[in-house]
Symmetry: C2
Subunit: 213 residues, 2 copies
Amino acid sequence: MTDRINLRELKKERTRNSLLRTALELFTTQGFDRTTVDEIAEVCEVSQRTFFRYFANKEEVALAVQQTVESRFVAALRERPPEENPFEALRRTVLGTWDAMSRVVEELVPLELHMRTYQMIESTPSLLAVHLRRSIELEEELARVVAEREGLDVDSDPRPRVAVAAFGGVMRMTGRLWGAGGDASIDSIRALTESYLDHLRPSLAGQWRRDQG
Amino acid sequence: MTDRINLRELKKERTRNSLLRTALELFTTQGFDRTTVDEIAEVCEVSQRTFFRYFANKEEVALAVQQTVESRFVAALRERPPEENPFEALRRTVLGTWDAMSRVVEELVPLELHMRTYQMIESTPSLLAVHLRRSIELEEELARVVAEREGLDVDSDPRPRVAVAAFGGVMRMTGRLWGAGGDASIDSIRALTESYLDHLRPSLAGQWRRDQG
DNA sequence: AGGCTAATGACAGCCACTGACAGTTGACGA
DNA sequence: TCGTCAACTGTCAGTGGCTGTCATTAGCCT
């Protein structure tokens, strides 16, 4: 049914996926800046113009898989039990996302390629910049979900945005540290995430010197 | 003394400042994307090539004043009394920076132009992206200062980076809200900063519903 | 005055990206 | 099965950010 109708849609999906994989493969091996759009298009045997009909710009293709994972993240947060407090809900959602990631990612590209891509993003200035902007757009969305869970107005009560901002700040930092480190596994970023989130509340407390636990 | 020697340095400073002011003026009136580097250069009566000898790219000139303020911020944090706990030191430094800002900024451009520029940055995607990347680079620097204050190793103890990440997350959010709002005054962003930082610890606490205060 | 060197201008070229138009190819009804 | 329509694609020309190169200018210093 779904595969017989729409040869057109099928071709489109193939072209898009081909462009996506080729781009990530070239980016991760040669580097983002040393790969031209012409090169990607040529390997996929389409014109450069066609590339730009599938992806608005060179950055977008590099962040496309990330985009999918983030959408799942928002959906997963919406499904957390309402009795969890906001920070706990965010924390459990992110840990759950790491666990479900391989399945989500493998529908598009090999997991291993995505992990290499993530590391490339963190080490490529222009990509990192766009990635960060997208992540604060995601934060706004998360703040609205949190406010909804708690029955609050996001514009009059600062707490949803503040909680999400603090959470997001720690998330981005773990992403950066993980990208700089050598271990590209999911286990490694999951452990890092968990440990750093646990340090959030103690870090804001007054007395660091008294307890070193 | 300092003014007689170096006619050359003087000219350079004038050219740079002329490029800076012209750029910000054009960006804030016409928009960043609708202003070409050729246009800026032509107004200043230099070649486009010269523009790129003073500023690495079009974004850099838009963020140049911001850059100066950020440097002052780091210096000010270093001078906070060591008995303040890390978060309190960050909080007081940022409030102090708002107070000292007019003086720092006016050495380069009119304060009012800088405030307009800040709002333009927040509402221009490409600029916002670069701004955010620079702000996480700043965070790394701040984390090292905090660690030094506390006599900790930034790589083995997560708390300096975590505290700074949470702080930075809230800072960026207030910047965004301020940029979206109508009031471009320093007072307004100062008040926003103070209020939101005060909500940080309560936001991470478990029970939001019990106390609405 | 004249040589040295930093600063600039002029030019050619690469690459990301866009608009316009023409050609091609699935979809779908007659 | 065929022709028509609409979607998709290729080609081309052009803009703008940015870089390397080289000749020229202009301040500096003896």
